[in-house]
Amino acid sequence: MDSTMTAPPVAIAAGGAVTALGLGRKPLEQAVLANASGLRDCPRLAGKGFQSTVGGYVPDEVWRSLRERDPAHADAPAFLLADAALREALADFSSGGREVLPVSPTAREASCESGVLDAVPASRRGLVLSTTKANITALEAALDHRPGSVTARRHLFPALLAADLAAAHGVAGPAQCVSIACVSGLLAIQQGALLIQDDKADLVFVVGVDLFSDFVLSGFTVLKSLDPVGCRPFDTERKGLSLGEGAGAVVLARRETLPSLALRVTGWGSSNDANHLTGPSRDGSGLALAMNRALQKAGVAPRAIDFVHAHGTGTNYNDAMEGMALRSVFQADVPPYCSSKGLLGHTLGAAGLLETLVCLIAARHQLLPGTPGLRTPDPSVPDSLLQKPRPAQSLRRLLKLNAGFGGVNAALVLEWGGG
């Protein structure tokens, strides 16, 4: 029944990012290696009554450079971020993915000379956008009777933002827009991989974006879910999450078209807790279902997983639930696991993409990333929690997890290797 057993393997060919750490993947990579945090106090939020003014927001100088580069979208920040992340991913892909994949000089030369991106017709390029609130700042402006461009208002609607990103990047093939809370990013990667496996596209650009908006800050303030001092995932003193903003992009392609080592997307699974709209199931059974589905799809046993990149928001309920889900799937042998929410904040629709890029960095460096913000590990969660980065003996199979409002859960199995 499962046609993916014979479907072509799909891999991440290139990546791009804009985060609280700066423009591009490089600052993200440096922070992962150093276990640094991009969270900081945001002066513009002072006096607005939010539960916390700490977050992972994109620095002002990055915004300035993005607006100078593309003044037509100056008041369409979701487009600016997504576009910048995609540009980096596509430049990376066109140059043979040298920043993402440690390819041999010969292979890199070959891909540069052949102009791999230009060689793929627009009709065979696909795009999947992941976002929860798109250009929500346009709605805030409209209701405040502040001026806004037609484009900014248009991008309030995620499908129209996806259409404009596709047009801007020469995509005439299938375009999709996934918006399913905080699992949007992982399910967008899943959808991108399926477009290639189903032979609807040769290349798929998957991009996730969300903004550090007053709208979302207000929402998590009224839910009393923000940690005033910054999130502390899996910590005994954790008080809630920190919001972030940014964009992450990956280019997906058939594995056989890529040189040397690559990070393959080998399994995926999703589920619903069928339990509560804003809280996770207390026993972790929904996330465990998604994990088991992803492992089954990848055709691997739990013991084959070398590392888990957890959702790890820093809320009491999420982290406790995740600990139980990990124990349910891995029993007593929970692999080393970490959270990047203290690195970037919770970037919502971008989280799945950006955290997959963290997995890529980890695989490339054969490093187990740490958990920025974690001081005192909660004794109730599995003790394989990674507080600080450390070298991996062999990092081949990675499991990426996310969960979100509406009881949704998602898991992705990624495999690093050659051939």
Binding site: L143, A175, F215, S218, V222, S270, A274
Partner: protein, 237 residues
């Protein structure tokens, strides 16, 4: 697999509501008039169904529309074995998402209102009500492609689900749409909601080719014409 089997279909819109057994029935005059004025609170659960829906009054309007379309299927989900609910996929599509809930939250920032500010909130409500724990996805179709029927058919084909619920719902204030969107982008219909319950092809004459129709158009035509050999609860037990 480029086909799926339709087990049941429902549709709600300005013209009325119904499923493939009852066919499309016009709204009672007071409801129709209220809907014409954009007063969607007029869509009360008890006016259409005998069952209970304790959370209905607390839901945002988009979730109410989606949940009503699923209930309208008359598919007897309540008799489904618990183990089978883990193999039910739910895919929601919405063109304009939760902008009505977004506006409401900005005007009245309360926790209950914030919980509804995701296009996928309706999916969560459906899964909570019917205890569905299979694969899930919420998409906002771009250029009419990549909709829920295609996604759900893929789940069936790859063995990721045994049956799927595809739901499309939209609700947009026309004045708000006009203020935010160009005439080209603004929705033609202010609101509609529909659901189609599908399974793998069985040769029972309920097969439909993928890609010939959008979900709302398919649901509308099935409700108008009926699903062959359809029984209440078909495909559930």
């Amino acid at each position: 697999m480029s086909q799926f089997a339709v087990l049941a279909a429902s549709f709600m819109g300005a013209e009325g509501c119904g499923n493939d057994l009852t066919r499309l029935r016009p709204w009672p005059a007071p409801v129709a008039e209220a809907l014409e004025r954009g007063e969607f609170e007029a869509l009360r659960w008890r006016a259409l169904f005998r069952s209970e829906a304790s959370r209905f009054g607390r839901m945002d309007l988009l979730s109410r529309l989606g949940l009503m379309a699923v209930e309208l299927l008359d598919a007897s989900f309540d008799t489904m074995e618990p183990s089978r609910r883990d193999a039910v996929g739910v895919c929601v599509e919405t063109r304009f998402g939760c902008t009505a809930a977004d506006v409401l939250f900005l005007q009245t920032p309360m926790a209950g209102a914030f919980a509804c500010t995701l296009p996928s909130t309706v999916l969560g409500e459906i899964c909570i009500r019917h205890r569905f724990r299979g694969p899930v996805l919420c998409v906002l179709p771009v250029s009419g492609r990549g909709g829920s029927l295609e996604i759900a058919t893929g789940w069936l084909h790859r063995g990721e689900a045994d049956a799927c619920l595809c739901v499309a719902c939209d609700l947009m204030d026309k004045r708000f749409a006009a203020s935010m969107l160009s005439p080209h982008d603004a929705p033609g219909e202010a609101w509609q909601s529909c659901a189609v319950w599908i399974g793998r092809p069985t040769g029972a004459g309920r097969e439909h080719p993928l890609g010939s129709d959008s979900l709302p158009r398919l649901a509308r035509s099935l409700v108008a014409s009926g699903v062959p050999a359809r029984n209440p609860g078909a495909g559930v037990s």
